[in-house]
């Protein structure tokens, strides 16, 4: 796994550093905290230690060069991942052999054992006895069907299950096999809430989806990766539609899901299960918006120091439309519709190997510049992994823009607990008919995915109509 080595910030007012000497060269082995390079800054010269153990793979900044802080100056190929977030090296080829006839996997995802899986898996799998009930799942998720005598700390094939003294005691008292409980604590650990849910669910089966009125007073927390503080209200298994062994054939490598990916997977399944999705599509003539943007772009970016994109136009249109049709800015709690007064727009940001939806809070109170700044700041921090937990919570409506990667339309999955999400396609010039004449216009397809439990077609179409008219009649100055 590649670990970036960055130019550190040696003091509050220091913003760049010069590499004066590399103490290792590519190909050298480094220990964690071993001095790796020397730098010189305004305030101090320092020896900088390696952030991880492994092999120095590449030096990106040479001696004598000065770069801003946080610049990646080198890359270390780290030996053996220790955390659940890092996918394990594929050990699968050793175990490509047919898995024994495995009974349908029980609730177990073994995400709790992911954390301990890495080094163990090859050795353990190589040594595992071919007990008929045991299946040889490559790398990460072995559902041990043989009840193991030690319910607490080891799974059926000897992998260590991360929990805590309290969790082990509760499991013991309720006779629950911990290897059948999925963990949502740090590093995939089985936490107190996980074991309590397992106990409440009557054994190893996890409790079903959100949407049911919560028995406890705690409001359902935002269920977006990475999870913020607070316990998840439900646990969903990632099921397969066909028996597992049918997926393993021919040549393949197995890549365990990162924690973020697991959470995305769980959320998408839950969202589709809970909300009956209906899609409405319309197109908006963006010619005026494109012209306004082209005209003001330089001025805007110079004056305000932030990029001018198309997103704040869509955000403003969304705010106006949500004001006019508040049902689309709600959440559903059993038979209650919670109409949110705040318009907190979640803006989907694509990350390497995943996605995250940071939220612009109170978009209804922001002006155009405020919207642009907020979304630029959140997107940047999302990519550099500097978002705070509260910034991915409490969204009331979401916008996703897959069109920037191409494609006419994106029919998105609703970001729970919202009831709608707006997908934006690519903005393209198309031939349109205006007043019976042919015109070339910049057009975009807008797709609204909505939850038909509370949003009916008529409202949805009126909502889109409002979006369209705000965009087509744009007359607000940007600068």
């Amino acid at each position: 796994m590649a670990v970036d080595v960055i130019m550190p910030q040696m003091g509050e007012s220091i913003f760049e550093g010069t590499i004066t000497k590399w103490l290792k060269k590519p190909g050298d082995k480094v220990e964690r905290d071993e001095p790796l390079f020397e730098i010189s800054t305004d305030k101090v010269d320092a020896e900088i230690p390696a952030p991880a153990a492994g092999v120095l793979k590449e030096i990106k900044v040479n001696e004598g060069q000065t770069v801003p802080i946080q610049t990646v100056v080198a890359v270390i190929d780290a030996a053996g991942a220790a955390t659940a977030a890092a996918p394990a090296k594929a050990e699968a080829p050793d175990v490509a052999a047919k898995p024994a006839a495995a009974p349908a996997p029980v609730a177990a995802k073994g995400s709790a054992s992911t954390a301990g899986a890495k080094k163990d898996s090859a050795a353990v799998l190589a040594a595992s006895s071919p007990a008929p009930a045991e299946s040889e799942a490559p790398a990460s998720a072995p559902p041990p069907s043989a009840p193991s005598s030690d319910l607490g700390s080891a799974g059926g094939n000897g992998k260590r299950i991360h929990s805590s003294p309290l969790v082990r005691r509760l499991a013991r008292e309720s006779n629950i096999d911990l290897s059948t409980v999925s963990g949502t604590g740090a590093g995939g650990r089985i936490s107190k809430t996980d074991i309590q849910a397992a106990i409440a669910g009557g054994g190893a089966k996890p409790v079903q989806a959100s949407g049911a009125p919560a028995a406890s007073a705690a409001p359902a927390p935002a269920s977006k990766p990475p999870a913020g503080p607070g316990a998840p209200a439900a646990q969903i298994t990632i099921e397969s539609a066909v028996p597992r062994e049918r997926m393993y054939f021919g040549k393949y490598t197995v890549q365990p899901m990162s924690t973020m990916r697991q959470k995305i997977a769980e959320h998408m399944v839950a969202s589709k299960r809970v909300s009956p999705h209906v899609y409405s599509v319309d197109e908006a003539d963006m010619t005026n918006v494109a012209a306004a943007r082209a005209k003001s772009k330089n001025d805007f970016e110079t004056r305000y120091g932030t990029k001018l994109t198309f997103m704040p136009f869509f955000m403003r249109a969304a705010v106006e439309a949500l004001r006019a049709f508040p049902t689309l800015n709600s959440s559903i709690d059993g038979t209650n519709i919670i109409l949110h007064t705040d318009i907190n727009l979640g803006i989907a940001v694509s990350l390497e190997n995943g996605l995250i939806v940071p939220v612009v809070k109170n978009a209804e109170e922001k002006n155009f510049l405020g919207l642009q700044r907020s979304v630029n700041d959140l997107a940047e921090r999302a990519r550099s992994k500097k978002l705070k937990p509260e910034e991915v919570q409490e969204g009331t409506f979401a916008i996703t823009n897959p069109g920037i990667y191409g494609g006419l339309m994106g029919l998105a999955v609703i970001n729970q607990p919202n009831v709608a999400i707006l997908g934006i396609g690519a903005i393209q010039k198309r031939v349109m008919v205006i007043d019976d004449a042919i015109a070339i216009r910049s057009m975009v397809y807008l797709t609204l995915s909505y939850d038909h439990r509370v949003v009916d077609g008529a409202t949805a179409h009126q909502f889109i109509g409002k979006l369209k008219s705000v965009l087509e009649e744009w007359n607000e100055p940007l600068v």
Partner: protein, 324 residues
């Protein structure tokens, strides 16, 4: 009922106990004529006279040695360390005489040693320390470290009435910064009992002295994020109220200890061990500590800020523990 500062509450306790029992005497540097460096003893000399309010030369050994001697003779001395940091000078008198006399010769030493402690006031290394652990480690002593005006008054009275040598730490940051309505009549606060200052179910924060207030501040912030913290004020460090500590850990299953004392050898380690011994199977996460760094107290303000715990550091640690 008036609003009384932390400092004034202590002064009231001293005054009331001196009124009540003629055996109670005060001894220390500048406590009489000057009224004390922080004015805690202001007015006492005028009221009780020089035989009961004794100004001493600059010698902590002499102050404590004399106090032990007075205690042997039937008086109940309250000795002041002008800054608690100077207590190091009389370590022998306290640990080998005051702490062991009753054990060794059956001679009780009913005395109180009090003084301003703690940092956050740009006092530097010799006027900001938290030396409580040297004495919490000494059997035979009692160690009290209140956080509120109410507790300060009630515990000072209990300390003076206790027949054992009692160390009473007064966090100088709190002296004039906190005020409270105090009841009119007489009241005591028992030594050796912690107090739950905020109830919660997700996480227990144990603290004392100035950091109690910082912990409560952090608990407010955390409550807004849905993390309900139970905040416990130890009030007495020796004897430690194990029952209250264990009961809370059994309830919330997660423990964070916050103290302004330096990390290594601070009471958080002791509490972590106690919890392992008494409530291991109730822990849903490791015991976490938020403490000062293992260095002398810096004089430079930004360094002191870096050195000390604060609400932000507590909130960050609590969030991590809540997620564990």
């Amino acid at each position: 009922m008036a609003q009384v500062t932390f400092l004034e509450a202590i002064r009231q306790a001293l005054l009331e106990e001196m009124d009540r029992d003629p055996a109670v005497v005060m001894i220390g540097e500048d406590i009489g004529v000057y009224g004390g460096a922080f004015k805690v003893t202001a007015g006492l000399l005028e009221r009780f006279g020089w035989e009961r309010v004794i100004d001493t030369p600059i010698s902590e050994t002499a102050i404590i040695g004399a106090a032990v001697g007075m205690a042997y003779q039937g008086l109940r001395p309250v000795a002041e360390m002008q800054f608690i940091d100077f207590i190091a000078c009389c370590f022998n008198q306290l640990t080998n005489f005051a702490a062991k006399s009753h054990y060794r010769w059956g001679a009780p030493v009913p005395m109180v040693v009090r003084g301003p402690s703690g940092g956050g006031v740009h006092g530097g290394p010799f006027h900001s320390q938290n030396p409580e652990m040297y004495f919490t480690h000494t059997p035979g002593l009692k160690v009290i470290y209140p956080a509120t005006a109410y507790d300060a008054k009630g515990l000072m009275k209990s300390a003076i009435r206790d027949n054992n040598p009692v160390l009473f730490f007064e966090h100088k940051f709190l002296y004039r910064r906190i005020k409270e309505e105090l009841p009119e009549g007489e009241y005591l606060v028992p030594i050796g009992k912690a107090a739950v200052k905020r109830e919660g179910r997700h996480l227990t924060i144990i603290s004392y002295a100035a950091m109690l207030h910082t912990s409560l501040e952090a608990a407010e912030t955390l409550a807004r994020e849905g993390i309900e913290c139970e905040v416990i004020d130890l009030r007495t460090l020796l004897p430690l109220d194990k029952e209250t500590i264990l009961a809370s850990v059994k309830k919330t299953n997660k423990l964070l200890v916050v103290h302004e004392d330096t990390r290594s050898g601070g009471i958080a380690g002791e509490i972590a061990a106690l919890v392992c011994e008494g409530a291991f199977e109730d822990l849903d996460g490791p015991v976490v500590r938020v403490t000062s760094l293992d260095t002398p107290v810096p004089y430079s303000p930004p360094l002191e800020e870096r050195f000390l715990p604060n609400a932000e550091k507590i909130v960050a640690a609590a969030r991590e523990l809540a997620k564990y």
